[in-house]
Amino acid sequence: MRIQPNKATNRPFSETVIELFIRLCGISSILFVFGIFFFVFKEGASFLFNGLNLSEFLSSEEWYPTSLNNKRYGTLALILGTFGVTSLAMLMAVPFGLGAAIFVSEFCSPKLRETFKIVIEFLAAIPSVVWGFIGLTLMNQLIIQVFNAPIGLTMLNGSIMLALMSVPIIVSIAEDSLKAVPDSYREAAEALGATKWQVIYRVLLPAAKNGLLAAVLLGAARSIGETMAVLMATGHSVNIPTSPLSWIRTLTATIAAELGEVARGGEHYQVLFIIGILLFTITFIVNLIADLVIKGIRQG
């Protein structure tokens, strides 16, 4: 058989079609992302550059968008609500997620590992409104009883829901990066008389640290962007959080709750889109850091 000089000419037609389709998917997804950003930016742009007091927007806790004669667009409470609920969620999700990843990758029998992965994937597939519902009912009652609180819809409640949502992401990315550590490292450390735990914290964790960091950042990005569950579980009241039992409101929940109520094109409408730009910026930064970190892994 002779080698054809030009492979493309005699490739089956089906392959050409498939390639075209994949190209279209790729290009369109890039277009969509830019399109969404452009749309969000466009809707908020005129008020952002003309009228909005940006420093008040970021530093005032007064959010009175519907007041008749004292309109205020301060998002500090919302920003702190978002960061508070996310930090508290990460405080729970990171140790639990990394611990579970270490368990699955280093201590599980292959059979148990499969079961575990199915459970994790199942957790990841639960829609966030279901988590919100659990927060609204079950967790609400639980917090009222355990902490003797008047209302259980609190930052704590929301952060537990967020933790449950980000744990699957953290576990699966962290487990992948632990599995990617060559077995020869484990063998070398074991031959030096290291115990199982010494192998883990002296060799595996340093070797996988970039992947673990990426897992944590992507889990955090998921939490920051989450809307439905926090809307339902945190009490949705504008309030600077002072304790886990504070009622709070997040940036995302504000957009979701108010966008349907406002006049299209008005100030309030535009401010909600500016909040969208703010969220975009935050998650973009977090994702960018995660990407850079993952790139760091590939280059060793």
Partner: protein, 251 residues
Amino acid sequence: MRNKIEIEDLKVHYGDIPALNGISLNVVENEILGIIGPAQSGKTTLLKVINRTLELTQGVTIEGSVRLDGIDVNSIGDVYGLRKRIGMVLPLPVGLPLSIYDNVAFAPRTSGLRNKAELDVIVERCLQQAALWDEVKDRLDSLGTKLSGGQQQRLTIARALSHQPEILCLDEFSIAVDPITTMRIEEVLKSLKNEMTILLVTNLVQQAKRLANRTAFMLNGDLVEIDDTEVIFSDNPTQQSTYDYINGNFG
């Protein structure tokens, strides 16, 4: 002449697959015992039984006994301590993803040594012994995995010496190493012999001839013959297959 290791009727199976079919041999204190034989004959398995890392492999069964200074290794409760009495150098050099310094300080630290001055002394001594010190003394903080293959293999030797082992096992250490580095390591081994007992598994029969006091020939999980190196490499070792393997007319 004292026996450092006594192996008696050692049988190993990976699942149903036999790897060692009842091997008995002794290793004499402060000798270099060369172990030769084609691939898959069970040489690596034998070394892993001695430091009890084989039991970490799933589905392995081990029968028979291995005694270290007359004590059955399986009766030793502190398996991590046992592993520290035996230095292990694997075929492909595995620099742990740590700095050169941390690679060598790894084992002492796992046994709880924190004193920087003491660690410094150990790191320098071991790198000297492994003939690597001069090449790396100015960059102890750079990654061990960034060294060349030959340097990494000397790093693993330095690491294996860091817990002052009584026994040093080398498993085909020269597979990924250039001939000049191989010669340097061979010189190192000759001088280490005064301090410890050395098991040298080698794919280069001439290396066993150069270094070993006695040589064992293994084939398909059996110990074919063990004798003084001069006898094994003479024109008439006891077994014909030994002669054939050494002279390259095998198979």
